[in-house]
Symmetry: C2
């Protein structure tokens, strides 16, 4: 073959009338009216190749989806073909022959995926080659990118904190333990303590990293490894400044992803975005009252919003405010963690961010006063001098300003942005109580 530069499938149209070389995977092969059509997939998408010459058709005999090919042929405008072009009179070279059929169909839209998600995840390695599956993870990659770009602009420094730690920051039984050279280590459930320590250095920090929870529940919502965005910022007046920052972040990231991935989101049948730059803020009490007025159900004794209320208030706000993201303020003290700050009248200085029917993040101010923190730790049964906590306390002994922050799952965000039914669909290789591979 002659020496030519590779052209991506998506760029073939630009070369119409010329000879081009493409490389990719055989994605589909079909016979139509005596002609063989093959779709070749590369990182930019698909290009259709019309194979007429018998010796070229012969090269493809017995070869299956996944076969790696090099094709040199004539680029031709063809509005009806994907990408608006085709390749005619191809000369085909088989780079890697594949002779077995794929274990899962990869040329159907997402709606045609196996109903049993176990099948989906068992065949994940090949299933991700479905163009629609891949779109999910391109969007996810760009969500991460947009998030970071917003945070850089706002003076946040990226940190990498250890995942092998001496104690369980979030407490509870749901922690993975392991032998660490004869000591017991746990896998970090969050970078909580470290990011607060780092406020003392940079004021504003963020981390995007894995976090681990030994979730015993086998539901759609529970995975044992998540990718978390954590942010923390100092010198705030109160938690409302953190809400403002988070609202700014989500507004920018979501409007950007809906602009730059408009076609993909349409293909994936994602819901339209209904968002205002300021997210409405309702107190828990107001939400209970609004909900009761509309549904007749009295939830005023719940310490939290019920799952149905979370759905309802997002719908309500979408309809009435044109915004499907909502902050629920005035959370009860009883929901507080030991490092949160108390507010007035039995509330915490905190709010929940709700988006499309679920709680995406809790956004509290932290208790930054050394003595108060010690008291809250003791009240929670935590020994401030234990190895997992003593360094955390040191940061406060030597001065931390008023600060606050939040953490939320990138998996969950991706799921809700695209409108998937299960958080695991937004994770390349999900981990749960039954799944440790692939």
């Amino acid at each position: 073959m002659i020496l030519m530069e590779r052209v991506l499938a998506g760029d073939v149209k630009k070369h119409a009338g010329k000879k081009v070389l493409v490389e990719g995977w055989l994605h589909k092969k079909r016979l139509l009216g005596g002609l063989t059509f093959i779709a070749v997939r590369d990182r930019s998408g698909l290009i259709q190749v019309v194979v007429q010459d018998k010796s070229e058709v012969e090269k493809l005999r017995g070869l299956q989806t996944g076969t790696v090919v090099k094709v040199i042929g004539q680029a031709v405008d063809e509005p009806r073909a994907p990408g608006g072009a085709e390749i005619h009179e191809p000369e085909i070279e088989i780079i890697v022959p594949v002779e077995v059929e794929p274990p899962i169909e990869i040329d159907k839209p997402l709606s045609h995926r196996p109903e049993n998600l176990d099948t989906l995840f068992d065949q994940r390695v090949i299933g991700l080659r479905n163009l629609d599956e891949a779109k999910i993870f391109r969007i996810r990659s760009d969500l991460l990118r947009y998030i970071r770009e917003f945070l850089y602009k706002n003076d946040f420094v990226e940190i990498n904190t250890p995942k092998l730690v001496a104690g369980a920051a979030e407490g509870g039984a749901e922690v993975f333990k392991l032998d660490y050279f004869g000591k017991e280590a746990t896998l970090a459930q969050s970078p909580q303590l470290y990011k607060q320590i780092m406020v003392g250095v940079f004021e504003r920090v963020f981390e995007i990293a894995p976090a681990f929870r030994a979730e015993l529940s086998a539901t759609t919502r529970h995975v044992s490894e998540v990718t978390m965005l954590d942010i923390e910022m100092g010198f705030i007046k109160d938690h409302n400044e953190v809400l403002d920052m988070l609202q700014g972040l989500l507004y920018e990231v979501l409007t950007r992803v809906y602009q730059e991935h408009a076609d993909d989101l349409k293909t994936l049948k994602s819901p339209d975005l209904t968002l205002t730059a300021k997210f409405p803020r309702y107190s828990m009490k107001e939400i209970h009252e609004l909900y009761q007025r509309e549904t007749g159900v009295d939830t005023s004794n719940e310490i939290d919003l019920t799952p149905d209320e979370e759905k309802w208030i997002c719908e309500y706000s979408k309809k009435n405010n044109g915004c499907e993201a909502v902050f629920a303020t005035g959370l009860p003290e009883s929901k507080m963690k030991f490092y949160h700050m108390k507010g007035d009248n039995g509330t915490a200085k905190s709010a929940d961010l709700l988006f499309r029917g679920i709680e995406l993040a809790t956004v509290p101010q932290r208790e930054h006063r050394h003595e108060n923190l010690l008291a809250q730790m003791k009240a929670s049964g935590i020994d401030p001098e234990s190895p997992g906590f003593s360094h955390f306390v040191t940061a406060f002994r030597h001065g931390l300003p008023p600060h606050g922050g939040c953490g939320f799952g990138i998996d969950r965000l991706t799921e809700k942005v695209i409108g998937l039914g299960n958080v695991k669909e937004a994770i390349l290789f999900p981990r749960d109580i039954n799944r440790l591979a692939p």
Copy 2:
């Protein structure tokens, strides 16, 4: 106090002649000629405040470094002060009093740090508030940013692969094991198998994430948790295309960090950058010969470059080529891992990237042919059907193109860029055989 917007220390000069409000930490306090000078630290740096009024001086009595203060005063041009400005006639408010002295001095240059690194890391939580320590991690944060920006431009998609895995991709005993709901899981030593699988989806992928090695050695070079950059790219002609990509990445990232952090790198006494856009490539054989000619030491029987040779060839190339990054090609087959590709004459299709005297990364082409891979796995004693490997093999059975990639430690890169003596100094909270906290 009156309602004013906060001004960052670094911006006070811009407001000279006006009243400003700054917030930050008391960093240093000293008496000079009957005046009290305090340095206030915030995320932008230091601002000097001249305190004359007795009642204001009194407010500071007994308060130590770390005290969180709000200062309102007159912004004054002062070329001799840090940032070129001072605040005069301050009104001071103590936000968080700190009454204990810091456990480690934080107002000295790096060269004055404790010689015993254990002291440094024991007091890390406060020690990071040293402005020079913080510079290291600002540079690190930007290294990550520049790396990602280069990769986005070159069509790489960011992936997040699981850290809880069923097998040990890199083999060996240095793997952390844990109980995963009754099964044995290991902590990923690298995303190697997953990133190769993902070549089948996106062609070009990268990940920046923690990796875990149960290193039994207590040396400066060994940590049990590192932050790794992993890249992998498909449809390459051979490993030289990966070398070109990596060289492009490092050239852009390093020249950029030396431009945008010129002052910080000077303060940190980092070495000057001596780099050309193309990194010289020498075969192992050439390096052995050059080294023997210069030193008289015959290393031709070594299967690898000796540590001294690695140092020497970087110096040699710096002097003769104006480039302190070098590729060592023609690596022997015996150094190969099971997923690497064999070259000619007992070599691997691979090269080592050397930078400032150490090996930063090995950059091989992968064996992409299913049958060859199976043979190499078996020769390495790996069962292709075992849970940790069967899905990897599936990706090849269904077609992977020629591909290659590399992974290297962000910690190590940061260490070498800044010219630190120990990789742990480039990690916020390092983990080694003796250290699991802070």
